[in-house]
Every structure is written in structure tokens, then in C-alpha cells.
């Protein structure tokens, strides 16, 4: 737009209007103040004892088709197929001290997304290159040492890694196993109380060319099917248990769970960045009211007639208002969210949210930066929603009621609705924009950051477009 067509003049005029009224300045301070205040109160009110847990937290759940191995020996198998239930689903062969959980083990395995791997004792992990199924795997026990190999054809073998199994070494268990990490969370709500539980989808793998060569000669025993970690009762009444079978040399193993050490950052499931920015629920009210007032006071005082005689191109007047308000509230929102994020961090630390379980947030981290900017943008969007509704409704009270209803209803109704209803409501109201604050996977993330932001933007675009349409065709009497 060239400067001669006057849009920059209107922008400048609206900027002057906005910053020369005390109530506006108060609303901006309130937006920042309320956001920070509620964020701090939220941080004061939450705590965790994640740091009190033992240093090493292990997860050891899989389905294992096994037999005992006394002395040295070699197990070879070809993984024919693996059901892709997640990038880290595991299927392969294993030598394990016993079927008791959390006992030491060595395994050669395949994964859908991370190729063939040699893993041992929950912490050792060696990548053996990307090769899908079928994949040839071999483990050889010689004394205390177990060595893993892989092969493209079952003829030429390449060593991947080796590991010393500590502890009593006479009898170990050897066999094929399958596991798959949980695929999200299932939630159900009964009588107002919400239960969330890990959702395990079993993964099935098939094996052939299975051979077990015992160093001292002798023949292999019979295979036993067992779920390491036992059957797991689920909150919905079902029992989670794996299964395995053999038919004509083809072994089918179905299992769930994972075999690994739980990393520090997964010990607690709180999203400390989202929590630190929680004050936006209060700040957005001030922002929305500011947006409403920026238009409705003009109608209330009759100033709108002066404005529209100063610029009869009405659509541009409203757009100029939107730009000026958006820039100013985004700036204040940025201050609010930075102060909230870093201001609450010492409190969070005092309340147990300490590294390495909860590392200090850094703006160089993508999701953290997205949360900070997204919070500021959300405050700006709420102000713009207020502006649009103000232009449509023209009366302060009515516009404030509508914008607050849009902003608050999801939070109020959340606990009363069935889970599906809450999910739906969180996706279709402007509050979906707060998904930008998510920095980790959580079961109650009903909507992803960018789609949620798009929903909020759509509300604003719709409200402002309707406002422009109406202001152009309505008399200003």
C-alpha cells in the first residue's frame, strides 16, 4: 500500500487514540499483571516429588517365548514381520537372567523406525543400521559374555555389540520376545472423576529359521510362553497379557510394554512451561475487554461518527484498529509470558521441579519458544476477538458477555461433560489456541498446537470480517 492512500494515516490516528486513554493503559497493565499473578499462584500451588524416586527407574514388560539355557550356546532367528504399532516397537531375540522383571538381559531386536539394534541391561543401545523385516538376528553366549550379530541373508554375520551378563551365570532364559511402548492415553470419566491410563496396543511379530545350538551338544527343550511383568489389570476391567504360539517352525509372539530405563525427562509428566504460562486464563479477560472497549466506547460516546467522518472508508478504519490493537496486545503478551515463564521458575524448583527431571526451559528450544510466542499471540487474538465482537454488537455489555462466554465456557464445562464432549469443546472454541503452550506429550492435550492456533485465528478472522461487513453497510445513527 502506498503511503499516499492514507492507510498509514489511519493507523497513526488509531494508535494515538489507543494510547491516549488511561483505561486502555490500565487494561494493558492488567493483562500483564493478571497473567503473571495467576502464573505465580499456580506455581505456588503445585509440587512434585519426582526427585525422591530412585536414580534408576526401569520398565521391563514384554512377551517372551523362552527356554532355559545352561552353559554356552547360540540362538539364531529371522524376524519375518513386525506389526508397526509405534516407532519403538521391539521384536527380536533375548538372553535374560530370568523371567522376573528388571533382571539383566541382552537382546538383538528390530524396530519399525529405528532399525536393528543391540540392547542390554536397559541402558546399552547399539544401532546396527536400518534394515526392515525380514532381519536375521543372532546372540551367542560364551562364558559371561553375550555377543549380538545381524545378517542380511543368514550366511554372512556382522557383530553389533557384546555385553557381560553379571551375576550367577549357570541358567539363563533364551528366546523370542515382542513389546511395544504405550500408544497414548485412554481417558474415561465416571461421576465427575477422570481416570487416565496408558493405552497399550499389542504388537505381533513372526519368526522363522529359529535355531538354538547348545555348545555342549544336547537338544533344545520346549518353548514356554510367558509375559514378563505378568498380566496387567487395566482400569477398564480388562487384563493385559501377551501370547505366543508355534506352527510349522513359524513362531508368532504378541506383546506389549517396553524394555528400557525410563529417562529422567519422562519420570514426571507435568508440562512446566504450560504450567508457568497458566496465568493467561486471567490475562485474556483483560485483553478481551480491552478489545471490546476499543470499539464500543466509540459507539457509546458517539465518537464513531467523528471517526467515520475523518475516514469514510470504514473497513480500513476497523482494520487499522485491529492492527494497532494486535501489535500492542502482542507486545504486552510477550512481556507477560516471558515474565511468567522465568518468574515462576525459581518457585517451581522450590516445589520439586528440578533438573534433570525438569530441565530449565530455554527459548532456544522450539516448543518453549512456540509456547512463549503462542501465549502472546493468543492474548492478541483474544483482544481482536473482543474488537470484532464489539464491532458486531456495538454495546459494551453484550460484547463482553459473548467474548467471556467463548473464553470461559470450555473451562467451566470441561469437568461436567463426558470426555468426548470436553475434547470436542476444546477443539471448537477459541481456547484451542492455548494448545500453543504445550511443550510435551500429555494425555489431556486434546488438540495439537498449530491446529488449535488455527481455530482461534479462524474465530478472529470471522468476527473481524463480520465487523467490517456490518460497519460498511450500517448507518451510524
Amino acid at each position: 500500500m502506498s503511503p499516499r492512500d492514507g492507510f498509514s494515516q489511519v493507523l497513526r490516528g488509531e494508535w494515538t487514540k489507543l494510547i491516549t486513554v488511561r483505561s486502555t493503559v490500565w487494561c494493558l497493565f492488567l493483562t500483564i499483571g493478571l497473567t503473571v499473578l495467576l502464573s505465580i499462584l499456580g506455581a505456588q500451588g503445585s509440587s512434585t516429588d519426582v526427585g525422591a524416586a530412585p536414580q534408576r527407574v526401569l520398565e521391563d514388560r514384554s512377551h517372551f517365548m523362552h527356554q532355559p539355557l545352561t552353559g554356552d550356546g547360540t540362538i539364531t532367528a529371522r524376524v519375518v514381520s513386525q506389526e508397526d504399532t509405534g516407532g519403538w516397537a521391539k521384536a527380536g531375540i533375548m538372553i535374560k537372567q530370568s523371567v522376573e522383571p528388571e533382571t539383566p538381559y541382552v537382546a538383538m531386536l528390530v524396530t519399525p523406525d529405528h532399525g536393528v539394534r543391540f540392547q542390554a541391561d536397559f541402558t546399552t543401545d547399539v544401532a546396527a543400521g536400518a534394515s526392515g523385516t525380514p532381519a536375521w538376528l543372532r546372540l551367542t553366549r560364551s562364558g559371561a559374555t553375550v555377543t549380538g550379530y545381524t545378517s542380511p541373508d543368514g550366511a554372512t554375520w556382522r557383530q553389533v555389540g557384546s555385553f557381560d551378563l553379571a551375576g550367577p551365570r549357570q541358567a539363563v532364559e533364551v528366546g523370542m520376545f515382542a513389546a511395544t511402548p504405550p500408544s497414548g492415553t485412554r481417558v474415561f470419566r465416571r461421576g465427575g472423576s477422570t481416570t487416565a491410563f496408558t493405552n497399550y496396543e499389542p504388537s505381533t511379530a513372526t519368526f522363522d529359521n529359529v535355531s538354538l545350538n547348545l555348545a555342549g551338544g544336547g537338544s533344545a527343550g520346549t518353548w514356554k510362553s510367558e509375559t514378563v511383568g505378568g498380566a496387567m489389570p487395566l482400569p477398564d476391567g480388562t487384563n493385559l497379557v501377551g501370547e505366543a504360539s508355534e506352527s510349522g517352525g513359524v513362531f508368532t509372539v504378541t506383546g506389549t510394554g517396553d524394555v528400557r530405563e525410563v529417562p529422567f525427562t519422562e519420570r514426571g509428566d507435568d508440562d512446566i512451561v504450560q504450567n508457568a504460562l497458566g496465568g493467561v486464563y486471567l490475562g485474556m479477560i483483560a485483553a478481551a475487554v480491552l478489545g471490546v472497549l476499543f470499539v464500543t466506547t466509540e459507539y457509546k460516546t458517539g465518537l464513531i461518527r467523528t471517526t467515520l467522518t475523518a475516514s469514510p472508508r470504514r473497513g480500513r478504519v476497523l482494520l487499522a484498529k485491529a492492527i494497532v490493537l494486535g501489535v500492542l496486545t502482542f507486545g504486552c503478551g510477550l512481556v507477560a509470558s516471558l515474565v511468567s515463564l522465568f518468574g515462576t521458575r525459581p518457585i517451581q524448583r522450590d516445589h520439586g521441579y528440578v533438573p534433570p527431571y525438569y530441565p530449565d526451559p530455554s527459548l532456544t528450544n522450539g516448543p518453549v519458544l512456540r509456547a512463549v510466542l503462542g501465549t502472546a499471540a493468543f492474548l492478541a487474538l483474544m483482544a481482536l476477538l473482543g474488537l470484532g465482537l464489539g464491532a458486531i454488537i456495538r454495546r459494551t455489555a453484550g460484547a463482553v458477555v459473548v467474548v467471556l462466554a467463548l473464553a470461559l465456557v470450555p473451562g467451566i464445562a470441561a469437568g461436567l461433560l463426558p470426555v468426548e464432549g470436553e475434547k470436542w469443546l476444546s477443539r471448537v472454541t477459541p481456547l484451542a489456541g492455548l494448545a500453543m503452550q504445550q511443550t510435551r506429550e500429555r494425555w489431556d492435550n486434546w488438540v495439537s498446537p498449530w491446529p488449535g492456533f488455527a481455530v482461534a485465528c479462524a474465530y478472529v478472522a470471522l468476527a473481524i470480517a463480520a465487523g467490517v461487513w456490518l460497519i460498511r453497510r450500517r448507518d451510524t445513527a
Binding site: G6, Q9, G13, T20, T301, T309, P312, T476, A477
Partner: protein, 309 residues
């Protein structure tokens, strides 16, 4: 194109009420045009249509031959004071003028000039909410003058002003017209425009009643009425009535006479042997002329009470 205000067949309806009906007139440069009519006659509606705020159902309103909506920096073409209270109470008077100046790319200097011109310099940094009605009127006039426009419109500018303020506005209107500007001033009181307006557009119930100069209107309203003062009132009335005049008693010793020229009246009275102390041409006030014109056009009329004299 001269900076005129031109209404061509304007019509505006709100629901069942026709606020303005086929209204046409022209306000010319160098003149104060009074826009007069009772409350509810459609004056403010007309002004809003001229300023592009309300869309006419039919007809056009043009400023210098152009629709207001096509003006790029309209404050430099038309200055308007519609409602002096239409200001944000929390904004300083100077800032109020400043945003308007920005809107039309006017320099800050103009803001200080018009503040000075309307005599608000000492109060310019106060918030407008604390302004008296008179100060608000001055602020509204400052806003109208901001772009130094050739056309100025004022809706009821003297409403609520003290005599000093009224005097000031009248002088301002006259001097603005003398500079060659087109001045369009509405009022529901004709008397307010006496001595100020050159031209009059009189409306009632949204329709044009008169589009005339002040002089013509006064002459028309004064008509052929003659005021006669005589101690023998009833005899004089009988004589003149017999001579074909319409007579009315206005006081104990005064009567007004229509339908007879002054010399004929003098002749009739002399012939009847009656004396009189005064015989003069009646001079109507603008207010009377207006009452005469709008007698049937007042929308909210008080019921007439028969005087028991």
C-alpha cells in the same frame, strides 16, 4: 467546482417513520445558511447523510459536487460539529484533536492553532470528561476547523451556551462566511439565527417548507399587516371591517389590519371622525415568520388553549 453543499431529493426512512422526504437545497460559499425546523424535523438526519454516516434511501448529498464517501482527506474539505458530547471523556482535548489530525495527515501545528483559535489553550491538556458544555462546543468547533475546510457544518452549535458563548459563535460564523466559506448551521430556534444567517432552509417533518433569504422570508411574514393605535378601538374595528379589511384586536388600544393599505385606513378613519395615535407597517420577527411557516409542521405540538380574554 465551488465548495457547496447540495442535497438532491434526499429521502430517509427509519422503520415506519419518514425522517427526511424529498429534500433538496443548496448552501453556497460566502453565506451562512440556516437549517431550521422543529425538533424531529430531520435536520440531524440530513446532516448525517451529507457526511456519509447514514445512507439515503433515495437522492444524493454532494459536497462541491462529490459524494462525501469519495473524499480522501475529508477533514480538509468539510468540517463538522454534530454532537459536542461525542468525545472520549478520558482523552485529553489536545489528543482528541491529534488523532483526528493524524487521520488526515495534518501537522501537529494545526492542532495548536485551532486550540488557540477557539480559546481552549489553557485547558487543552485536561481530559475532555471534565469539560463544561460550552468548552465541549468549543472543542467540537476546533475539530471542525482542523483541516481548514471550505465547508463547515454545525448542528445546533449554540445549544447550552451562555450568552457570551452565543455571541462568540455568531461572530465566528459571520467571519468564516466572510472568508468565503460555506457555512451550514442548524437550529430549532429561528431567533438564534437572526442577524447571523443569510439564507434559510426551513424543514418540517422531513419536508422542505421554505428555501429563501432571510429578507424575503421576513417580508413575506410581515405581509400587508398594519398596526393601528387608537383610543376608539371598537368603533375603528367596525369601520374598517365594513370597508373590507380583516381586523384583530391585539391590545386595549391597538388593532392589526389586513387587506387595506395604510393610506386607505387613514382615509376611512378620518371619514368616520376617529383619531389615531399610530399607524405603522408591522415588522415580523424571524421567530414569528417561522412560527407562521411551521404551524402545521410541528410534530410534537402542545394542545392549543383558548385564551379567555
Amino acid at each position: 467546482m465551488a465548495a457547496t453543499i447540495e442535497a438532491r431529493g434526499l429521502r430517509k426512512r427509519y422503520g415506519a417513520t419518514v425522517a427526511v422526504d424529498d429534500l433538496s437545497f443548496t448552501a453556497k460559499p460566502g453565506e451562512v445558511t440556516g437549517f431550521v425546523g422543529p425538533n424531529g424535523a430531520g435536520k440531524s438526519t440530513t446532516m448525517r447523510m451529507i457526511l456519509g454516516l447514514d445512507a439515503p434511501d433515495r437522492g444524493q448529498a454532494l459536497i462541491g459536487g462529490r459524494s462525501y464517501l469519495t473524499l480522501r482527506n475529508p477533514l480538509c474539505e468539510v468540517g463538522a460539529l454534530l454532537d459536542a458530547s461525542a468525545i472520549h471523556p478520558g482523552r485529553r482535548a489536545r489528543d482528541h484533536l491529534l488523532w483526528m489530525a493524524h487521520y488526515n495527515g495534518l501537522p501537529k501545528r494545526r492542532v495548536d492553532e485551532v486550540i488557540e483559535q477557539v480559546g481552549l489553550a489553557s485547558a487543552a491538556r485536561r481530559r475532555a470528561g471534565g469539560y463544561s458544555l460550552g468548552m465541549r462546543q468549543r472543542l467540537g468547533i476546533a475539530a471542525a476547523l482542523l483541516g481548514d475546510p471550505p465547508v463547515l457544518m454545525f448542528d445546533e452549535p449554540v445549544n447550552g451556551l451562555d450568552p457570551e458563548g452565543i455571541h462568540w459563535i455568531r461572530g465566528l460564523l459571520r467571519s468564516l462566511a466572510a472568508e468565503g466559506r460555506t457555512i451550514f448551521v442548524s437550529s430549532h430556534l429561528m431567533g438564534e439565527l437572526e442577524g447571523t444567517a443569510d439564507h434559510l432552509v426551513v424543514v418540517g417533518r422531513g419536508r422542505l417548507i421554505a428555501d429563501t433569504t432571510v429578507r424575503e422570508l421576513l417580508a413575506q411574514a410581515s405581509g400587508e399587516q398594519i398596526v393601528l393605535r387608537t383610543p376608539a378601538r371598537s368603533e375603528a374595528m367596525t369601520l374598517l371591517a365594513n370597508a373590507g379589511a380583516t381586523v384583530a384586536a391585539t391590545d386595549r388600544d391597538t388593532i392589526t389590519v389586513r387587506g387595506l393599505a395604510a393610506d386607505r385606513i387613514a382615509g376611512v378613519l378620518s371619514a368616520g371622525g376617529l383619531t389615531f395615535s399610530e399607524l405603522s407597517q408591522h415588522r415580523a420577527t424571524l421567530e414569528e415568520a417561522y412560527m407562521e411557516l411551521t404551524r402545521d409542521e410541528v410534530e410534537f405540538n402542545a394542545p392549543t388553549v383558548e385564551s379567555a380574554r
